[in-house]
Point group: C2
Chain length 375, copies 2
């Protein structure tokens, strides 16, 4: 959920935060991945994808997931660091891959690069992927297309993992099913929508639980539909995720999650949340994830898209605001400026996350990135 | 917004409702369009697209719009009944059209048919359209792909019309920007998401105003952000549309609207809501609409998609419900059953809408469809 105004780039670091040089953080993360068997080029790309959460936001999808998600995936063999994705079908404009458990942090970007190559010739390129693992922030991969002047779309299911309940259902049937779209905006920061189709992704709920912060009403509900603000209730089974839209709109959020399930899993043949074996209510596992990446190259269809994009997004940031102190912005604007500042001034990490990196470094015989400031 | 549980197909007609034979209603509507200069084949297709709202739902997008939207468009020359869309670019998998003001009710379906033809060869087919007019229920056109075993996507902006305000903005910059996705579901009704990216489309608000019904909280807000339930407040300028997501999620709804604006208008070069000339706060007009239709043909990429789709959507309808009297359903399920019943038993029309059809018939020298029952 980078698509939330998380405060401007100028926010001071929270207490307990450790600030680390961005380049050092990327190099360290890449070395952790090479230590787990990823080829160096892949490790560098996977590190960029993971650190996108810490640089641009959301932090919940950044290095906090290294020890919680990616290292266990690799250490348990659920992700294969050196797997070569296999091309199952190639129709030119569209390609079907079996990712063979390659790390999603790398594979999604590689798929987007292929989609963009195909879009240069066909106007659109689509790469449908099965057998995938967690891709991190979908928006990071969508941005690869925007950097080439294209529109990038990423939709991913959560494999067989079931977290969210269809309206009226007594059991969970779907994941948080993120969707992302990125587009160039001329001289302005690229447009970047990156959102779960539930009201919040699990990462944001768990981040709040770690920080001991209550959630706003509207993200979690209990068995009888009442709002829950205690973030610990999700993993304790006392609450489940609400859909985007809440009371008046949850049927749309649920529909968007199914749209993502169709695009990512039905097209590719990956695992799916809804499955006849799933009625017992077990949560499944996020194995055999499916995702779809697509690039559209507007410049192959017509002239003037760069100027039009700049006019469109420029009109938004110049739009008269209700409060002159709070100018109108669009998804991607804050993320761009935040990342730029953090590349310059250092990346704030939660103290506990920094301690995890120090521990990972010590076990792997690596040097943790030096703290620029912090406790 | 067909993506709302509007009640089952078995709901009794509301008081004041007139029931009309479905085939007679379609034939009448087509004859109204041929009377306005549409070639017969186009008129028949436009009639099906318009009556989709009355058969499947939502009624707000059906024949209630004949005298409010489509006949004025044709009579004022803002839509051209016989315009031939011009192919501006053809890259095989992707095509750019200038619709030249052809009636969107017909042109969107024609674009989807072309996209589906291209998808048979390339796996994906995309038709990007500028110079378009209002296409009615986006879902009707997306379903054309599902009927061919494909996934259909439709995204449309509202041309230069500005109805909804970006978060924090003092003026409107975007339309209701609908998105629709349809997919086959084997022996089950096709999946059909069809939604505005605002909390509700204007049609639903105006339908409530005509019926004198208050709206639920969460669809409209006033200048200071307080909820408004009086549907007349929208057209009286006392309220504006909330985004999908409301208080905790509106940045996502806004982001989805921009995703639709990018896909429909930036790719095609149509009119856009956000524009440097738009800061005065005038609402613009829904001329030079842009839309994108795409078809993905999963069968060209892999085998077994039909069985997988049936298993996926079957698992949803068989999912244990909270209340055994309210089984779990998915978007498209109610719409399919409602349309099937209405084709068999007749289509309920609001008395006032039926009276408008009688008036249109009398002015055009046509016979209005006979009421099967009603006041």
């Amino acid at each position: 959920m980078t698509t939330t105004p998380l405060g401007t780039a100028q926010s001071p670091p929270a207490p307990g935060t450790v600030r680390v040089d961005a380049a050092a953080l990327l190099a360290f993360t890449a070395s952790v991945f090479t230590g787990r068997g990823l080829p160096p080029h892949r490790a560098e790309r996977a590190a960029r994808a993971l650190c996108h959460g810490d640089l641009a936001g959301p932090r919940s999808h950044g290095l906090a997931n290294l020890t919680r998600l990616y290292l266990p995936l690799l250490d348990e063999g659920r992700a294969d660091p050196a797997a070569e994705p296999r091309v199952l079908t190639d129709l030119g404009a569209s390609v079907l891959w079996d990712a063979r458990r390659a790390l999603g942090l790398w594979a999604a970007g590689a798929a987007m690069d292929l989609a963009a190559e195909r879009a240069e010739r066909h106007g659109i390129g689509l790469v449908s992927v099965r057998g995938a693992t967690h891709l991190g922030c979908a928006g990071h991969h969508a941005l690869r297309a925007a950097e080439r002047g294209m529109v990038g779309l990423v939709a991913s299911n959560c494999g067989r993992q079931r977290i969210a309940r269809p309206p009226g259902a007594a059991v969970a049937m779907l994941g948080t099913n993120p969707i992302s779209l990125a587009a160039p905006a001329g001289a302005h920061p690229p447009f970047l929508l990156d959102m779960s189709t539930t009201a919040a992704p699990t990462g944001v709920v768990r981040q709040a639980a770690r920080e001991g912060r209550p959630l706003p009403e509207g993200l979690l509900r209990d068995e009888v539909g009442a709002p829950v603000t205690d973030p610990r209730a999700l993993d304790e089974g006392r609450a489940h995720l609400e859909w985007l839209g809440g009371e008046v709109g949850r049927y749309k959020g649920f529909g968007l999650a199914l749209m993502v399930e169709v695009l990512s899993a039905l097209v590719s043949g990956s695992g799916t949340g809804p499955h006849p074996d799933a009625h017992g209510g077990d949560g499944g596992r996020d194995d055999d994830i499916g995702f779809l990446v697509a690039a559209i190259a507007p410049d192959t269809l017509r002239q003037g898209t760069g100027a039009d994009a700049e006019a469109l997004f420029g009109a938004l940031v110049d739009c008269p605001p209700v409060d002159p102190a709070e100018p109108v912005r669009y998804p991607g604007w804050y993320e761009y400026h935040r990342a730029r500042e953090r590349r310059r001034d250092g990346v704030p990490l939660e103290g506990a996350v920094y301690a995890e990196l120090v521990d990972v470094a010590s076990r792997a015989g690596l040097r943790a990135p030096t703290a620029l400031e912090g406790p």
